[in-house]
Structures are given as C-alpha cells and as structure tokens.
C-alpha cells in the first residue's frame, strides 16, 4: 500500500518493542464480538493510483462542466475566471497540509494571510472587523441571526427575513431556529421590479432582534439598505445584510456604509471554484467594534513576539467552544481556511483596480444580456436594478425550459421553480447570471435557444 511506510519487518520489531504478540493484542479493549476478523465484506480491495484515477475520471466525464457550455447559473454560486497562480499557491504543502495555527511561532504564514484576509473582507463589506471565515454563506447567515439574539440578550425573539433572501439560506435559518426559541417571520418573494422594502419595514417591531436582507437579493434587485437600516435601528433591531456575490461590491456601495450591523456572505465567487456546492467560504463581519466579542468563529490579531517583532496569533478565543464549551458563541471549529487563502490571493491579484474593472465588466455584459433577452418574444425582464444577475419571466414553467436547453448544451440559469417549489406563482421566473467569463456569443446562444424553445 503506497501510503503506508511501515514494512513487515518494522511491524514485527515494533510489536516486540511494545510487548504484543500480534496486532490484535493491541485491540484487546474491543470486545471480541465487535472485532472484525478480516476486511469488511462487500468493499473492494486496494487499487493503484492509475486505477483510481481512471475510475474517478469516468465519473467526472458524466458531468457537464460549466466551461463546456454556454453557462448562466448563479443563485449563490458564480463562475468567474480564477487566475492560475491562485491554485498554485493553495497547493503549496505549507498551506495545504498545515493545521489550524494554534502554534503561532511556526504558523505565521497562515496567520499573516488570515490577518490580511480579515482586513480585505472588512474593507469590502465596509465593516470594522471580519472573522477568519465560516463554512459558507448560508451557515454564516444563521450564525449572524444567532449573534443578533445574543446582542439582544435573548430579550427579543423575532427574526424578520426578507422574502427575497436566498430560499436555502432562509431554510437553514428556519431549521436551526426550530431548536432555539426564535420566531422566524418570513414572507414569500414578490415578482416585482423593485424589492418590497415597505412590506419588510412594516414587519419590524419592538420584539425584533434582527432583519435579514440580501443585497443584491435573490432576484438580482438592489434593496434600499439605508432605509431598512434606519427602520430597524428605530426599533432597536440589528440589520443583517447578506451578500452572495462579493464581486458586486466592486461596483455597489458596501452594506456597512449603508448601515448594516452584521454583514455576512458567500465568498466563493473570489478565488474558489464552483465545485458542485462546496467547500465554499463563509464571510462574517461586524460594522461596529463593540460587537466583536459576540462574534462566532476564529479571529486573528496582531501582536509582538518576545524580541519585539510583529507577529500574529489567534485571539479572543475565550468566545470559542474549546474554552467556553456550552457557553461558546458557536460550536464552529474547523472553518474554511484554505478557501480564505484562495479568496485572499485572488483579491490581492485583483486589487482595487482589478476588482472594480471585473465588476464593471460583469455589469456591462449583464446589461447586454438583459437587453438582448428582453427582445426574445415571450420574455419579459423583471428587474429595475441589478448587478450581474437578473430575473426574466418566460410565461411558462421555467424548469421545463431549463431542462430542454440543458439537453442542447445550454445551461440557461436557475429556475425559480427549483428554488421556490412551494410558490407556483413564481414558476415562470428564470434567474440569469452573467460574468466576465460569459462571451457575447454565449448570450446570443442563449437568446436564440430561448427563441427556439418559446416559439
């Protein structure tokens, strides 16, 4: 077995040293009846590297890769070009095969990277402090809701969710809230040109701990966060802004700047590939430093070593499970360190100039696509405002169209029927995402395919 260095001679020498007659003597604490005598039945025996690679390649070939199609999917996961150097750097063994940096003297590489990452995220979000990552956007969203409960010291139990929050994020929040005492006040999304900010504001009351708003929202529209923030603060509630497309923040105002108290989101779009949904990168930041000790997750901070040299450590760990146990702010332990590295490397390559250019290119192509698709007979553009993703209405069940176009090698977008199976009135909606990887030819391919299908 190529991954096991011990030879049979080593094994017998070592058994002799430990005073065991055979290997089973070391498993003597396992009750006889629970010990398996041979390899588990029904599973294959070991295989060569070549054989495993062949098997996995066969499975891989059964999938249609995004780059091999005209591709328009978004809804919380976006296809962007990732520079080759990002993958090179995250495969360096010193990053890839390191542990959580609990021994700072020999983990400054990971720690300095995390400090840089936290700063990049905080600035992107318009916040004071960001943590060292969460699992993904949806779990970060729930953690923000839980944190708002702690800030309210359990005295406010109502969580107001925007109807235009990603339905899977809302479902994660509802799932977790079932086991706490929070009341989750959701609403179905409305297929309108503008988000229903008034309706949302009307649902905030004195018992509301937080309001959760996606920006841009699940239909691609831009809610007026500043107005919602003001309304929330008036009732003593926190505004949690959720962003699933960080590239957008190179073009639109940051949630922190607009008054959001906690900003969370999915960082996958920068540096992390689609990977069928994971691993992704949860981003979590607070606008005001005073909330830092209520935050979940790891935090990296600057300090100095015994010789006075600058260095970095994981800090404020008394919030965390390994010290606070049942009183911890979260049970999170392992997070998304390597995805945070990928994000940070990509963001460093982009810089302010690159991020803004990338954002504007996304927006330009999205505008082009929206205008082109709106010309297809039977298609109506829903959005007044959008960044790189918008909703079109097809006048018939979009799920069927999506499947029919997939058979022709066009991945047309995400149907609202897939996202909101319980809301049949949304079924003719199709969410279309456009990024810098989309060519004008792809847009034409989608438009003509839709023309064919809707004719």
């Amino acid at each position: 077995m190529r991954y096991l260095p011990l030879t049979d001679t080593d094994r017998s020498d070592m058994l002799e040293k430990v005073g065991a007659a055979d290997i089973d003597a070391l498993f003597s604490d396992v009750p006889e009846e629970a010990r398996l005598s041979g390899p588990i039945e029904g599973l294959p025996m070991h295989a060569s590297e070549m054989a495993v690679e062949k098997h996995m390649r066969r499975l891989s070939k059964k999938n249609l890769a995004a780059s091999d199609a005209a591709f328009f999917l978004g809804a919380g996961a976006y296809k962007h070009h990732i520079p080759a150097s990002v993958d090179h750097i995250i495969q360096r063994g010193e990053f890839l095969t390191a542990y959580t940096p609990y021994q700072p003297e020999i983990a400054q590489g990971t720690l300095q990277m995390l400090f840089e990452f936290q700063t990049q995220v905080a600035r992107l979000y318009g916040c004071a402090v960001a943590n060292a990552s969460m699992y993904d956007g949806s779990t970060a969203c729930w953690e923000a809701v839980a944190m708002a409960g702690r800030v309210a010291r359990g005295k406010k139990r109502k969580v107001v969710l925007s109807g235009a929050l990603h339905p899977h994020y809302a479902e994660v929040v509802r799932t977790m809230a079932k086991f706490t005492e929070d009341e989750i006040a959701g609403a179905p999304p409305s297929l309108a040109a503008k988000p229903d900010d008034d309706g949302l504001i009307a649902r905030i009351d004195e018992n509301t701990s937080c309001v959760v708003v996606q920006y841009p929202d699940i239909l691609g529209r831009l809610p007026d966060l500043a107005r919602i923030a003001e309304a929330a603060h008036e009732k003593g509630a926190l505004l949690i802004a959720v962003n699933t497309e960080p590239v957008a923040l190179g073009a639109i105002k940051s949630p922190g700047e607009l008054g959001a108290d906690i900003v969370v989101g999915e960082g996958q779009a920068i540096g992390v590939g689609l990977q069928f949904g994971g691993p992704y990168l949860g981003l979590f930041a607070v606008r005001d430093e005073k909330h830092v000790r209520m935050m979940p997750g790891r935090l990296c901070g600057e300090t100095a070593d015994a010789e006075g040299k600058r260095g970095f450590v994981l800090t404020l760990s008394t919030r965390e499970q390994h010290i606070r146990r049942e009183k911890a702010t979260s049970n999170i332990c392992t997070n998304s360190g390597l995805c945070a590295l990928a994000f940070s490397v990509h963001m460093t390559l982009l810089g302010e100039k690159g991020l803004r250019r990338m954002a504007m290119e996304n927006h330009r192509l999205a505008c082009l696509a929206a205008d082109r698709l709106a010309k297809v007979p039977g298609v109506r553009l829903l959005n007044d405002s959008f960044f790189n993703e918008f909703t079109i209405r097809l006048g018939m069940d979009a799920r069927k169209i999506v499947r029919a176009l997939a058979d022709k090698g066009v991945l047309a977008g995400v149907s609202l029927g897939r996202l909101f199976p319980d809301n049949p009135e949304l079924a003719d909606g199709l969410l279309v995402a456009v990024t810098e990887t989309t060519s004008e030819e792809d847009i034409e391919t989608l438009a003509s395919a839709l023309e064919g299908e809707l004719a």
């Binding site: 000790r293 760990s317 008394t318 010290i323 606070r324 009183k327």
Partner: protein, 123 residues
C-alpha cells in the same frame, strides 16, 4: 464597613445598603493575566448564585456569581480600558460592580478575612 468572602473567591464590601463586589487576589493569581471583564449593566437584577460577570484570561473564561440578591447600581468602567487592574489591584481599584443588598441575612453564610485565608490555605 464589613468585608465578606465567598468560596467562589469573591469579596464583598458592605456599606449600608450597598455592596461592592470583586475577585480576590488569590483568584487573580490563579487566572493569570486578565484580558477582559464582562460586567452587568446598571439595573440588572441579580439573584444569589446566578451569573453576574465573566472574567477572561487568554485561555480561560470564568463566571463570577452574584453572592447575594440585589440590583446592580454601577459597573467599574475603568476595567473596560484597563482589565489589568484586576491583576494589579484586585481588592481595590479592580472592583467589578456595586449592587443593592436585597436580603442582609444572606451575608451570614459568608466568610470573614481569617476564615477565607484558611480556606485558601486548604486548597
């Protein structure tokens, strides 16, 4: 003014109807460098034995319990900027909070300085 001690290593100075609470020199020695103290806000109602404050070192967080029933009247704001006061002056400037004395009889079960000293010697 009388000073009492609890077996959770807190001291209580009682002055009329007001008590001042902190942790003892022995306790700060056990905890090491204090980095943060979370204090109850004024008006918080405390009941004997319930959580009142949290004191944190780099690697540990310890709850401080209310020694008696009462309502918090003042928290020591100086600890916000300088938690090290708990290390340097635990039984004076490093006090945690002041509270009303709800039920004076609850003081009867507490230790005086001599009793607390021998309690620590036995640990």
């Amino acid at each position: 003014m009388a000073r009492y001690f609890t077996d959770e290593h807190e001291w209580i100075d009682v002055d009329g109807d007001t008590a001042t609470i902190g942790i003892t020199d022995y306790a700060q020695g056990q905890l090491g460098d204090i980095v943060f103290v979370e204090l109850p806000g004024s008006g918080t109602a405390l009941s004997k034995g319930g959580d009142a404050a949290v004191v944190e070192s780099v690697k540990a967080a310890s709850d401080v319990y209310a020694p008696i029933d009462g309502e918090v009247t003042e928290a020591n704001e100086a600890l916000e900027d300088d938690p090290a006061l708990v290390n340097t002056a635990p039984e004076s400037d490093g006090w945690f909070f002041r509270m009303t004395v709800g039920d004076k009889s609850q003081l009867d079960g507490l230790m005086d300085e001599a009793a607390y000293k021998s309690f620590c010697d036995g640990l």
